[in-house]
Symmetry: none
Subunit: 212 residues, 4 copies
């Protein structure tokens, strides 16, 4: 296979990737046949093999692009003076929005992550990014005494990412009809409280009943 593509070749390859994204999104990973991609791209079946060696390969390309979009969306955009609560809310909203925007492929990746090392790594790549950022924040906030010092940042980060990502997954996969603002508020609040960050609560909750 010739590795250097002409402009025309580049365009054909691009079309195939776009077609595959659509096809994967609507039919999952297993159902589509090679010819579904070429048909959707308006190409002959033999053409596929000029650019990809297998369904797996084109899927990897599709996922890589989705991952890239997820990464792009995760920049905080907050100044250095932002409070932890602001950061949590901002990160949660960005995650929820990015997940929704890329839901079909993200969910697909979730499902196929069990079938090979390579898929698992791809699925982990985005998660690891969120997890390590979260862990770093937790450490910083623990050092500053802002949150529960007893939590292990690594475990806690994993748990928080689980909460948010799996909530989104179930929400979108199972077609539950949630309101985005309520979702973001609830997840942010629980996130903050789970790590012992001070959150505005009615004075009478919990603590007041068990006066020191």
């Amino acid at each position: 296979m010739n590795r250097t593509l002409t402009t025309r070749g580049e365009r054909t390859r691009e079309r195939l990737i776009e077609a595959a994204t659509t096809v994967f999104a609507s039919s999952g990973y297993f159902e589509p046949k090679i010819t579904d991609f070429t048909a959707a791209a308006g190409q002959a079946n033999g053409t596929f093999y000029r650019y990809f060696v297998s369904k797996e390969e084109i899927f990897l390309e599709v996922v890589r692009r989705t991952n890239a979009r997820m990464h792009e969306s995760s920049g905080t955009g907050l100044g250095p003076g932002a409070t932890p609560m602001e950061r949590i809310e901002n990160a949660t909203r960005l995650y929820v929005q990015a997940y929704r925007a890329n839901a079909p492929i993200m969910m697909l990746l979730e499902q196929v992550s069990g079938i090979s090392e390579e898929f698992r790594d791809l699925r982990l790549s985005t998660r690891r990014m969120y997890r390590s950022r979260t862990e770093a924040s937790l450490r910083r906030w623990q050092e500053r005494g802002l949150i529960d010092s007893q939590l292990r940042p690594d475990y806690a980060a994993e748990a928080l990412i689980s909460m948010v990502s799996n909530f989104c997954y179930m929400w979108l996969a199972m077609e539950d009809d949630h309101d985005e603002d309520v979702v973001v508020d609830t997840l942010s609040r629980m996130w903050a409280m789970a790590i012992g960050l001070r959150v505005d609560t009615p004075a009478d909750v919990g603590r007041s009943r068990t006066p020191g």
Copy 2:
């Protein structure tokens, strides 16, 4: 197909299900062929069709049994005097243990839940049970003023189940090497804190540093 099986037939069917459980657990849903099940059960290939019409059907049976085991394991066994914290810890431990015990099939179900309504429903069945129990508890505790009254119990329950179940999934799917006790302690603690339940914390955490 004769629906009433003899003892011998019952035993053969049972063997096939057990074999399929093993095969699914180690090879996933898509890789196994019908003959893999019959070979593992020491039966001729045609025998499969006496008891099942397709791979999907035997998988459903395998999952139903796994779900049943998950349900069985979820009884709390705690007396009426147990505190919320005790209940959370107990439930978390039971869930983590049940998940570990049935990990291969639970994870598989996670992965195939996208390929058909029926699989999705089966995957939801266990989740729904946990979610509704959780939601009921949250309502009760809110009524008694023990936890944050601002949280919507339905969203919060979904978030908590997400946190626990997806933590387990990632832990076991990605072969992270966690310690069960730390997992249970961390998840229980975060669960409790996330809902505003009073948790033993060092007196200086959070609240004291950010005085109103």
Copy 3:
């Protein structure tokens, strides 16, 4: 296989044949599986092989009985003084009625006669009987100068049997809605005329227009 059957065995065998007759009649020769016969007879599948070695064998038995019924129905019942026309009408009516009564199997036999020597012979057995009777009648009538002397009795007999039998076949196979009396009258009249037998016709028909 034990050849001498007990009374019970005899009954089972009989049930299988009856069931097979029904099944063949409604589903043709190729569609039915061995288990269809046993199921229809209320017997276990293995039982079939105690009495028959194959579907072909039970079919032969079914056809033999049908053939026997066709043979029984073909006796004329007319006295020695009957006229040729009376004999033709009687024979035609008996044939048509017998064919109708045994239509499903007769038609089936028609269809399977191409698949083996044995089936062909069975199909020919009834036809041969009718043909040789017809041929004999034609010869007799030719000797008596009652009919066209130029016709070869063998060919003519074949043609007449073809006319009647195939008319019945198409009638019943294609679900044309004919009236039995009209069928019998038309076939009898044409039969008689075809062999030059004097038939009552309006004086002006044919002959009168082309006076010698």
Copy 4:
């Protein structure tokens, strides 16, 4: 499946049909497997499915072509001045010859006409053509007073076609050794006489012996 075929594809399809015609003719409808067609056409087994979805479909195509040939052969080619007797003889000869030329498939069609609506319709298509032509002729001749006015043209046409077609079928199916000229003469003569058309007969036949 791409519906527009290239020249190469067209040729392959054509080869398969020709091969199938041969295979069906010599082995009947049920015996041949898909691979028999492809092997006979020098093609790989998968190739079959590029052009046909099933054995039934290729059989239908084979029969359609045979029917087309039967239709083509049925043009009389006689001028407007031809006598009814000439027309009957001509039509009979053409039918007998066409039947012989396409005997294997015609006989096969006869046999499979019982297994599906579609086959039955195809089998009826040729028959219907002959029957309606015959019926039309009979009506015309009745109007002109040339033949028996008591016969119902529809029943009579059916009977005549039965006589000719089933004679041919038995002749060729059962491998009787008939002489084509005798067959045509006999059938034509009987056809004519059956409808009361004046036929050259020895003056002493029938009528004279049984004086009113």
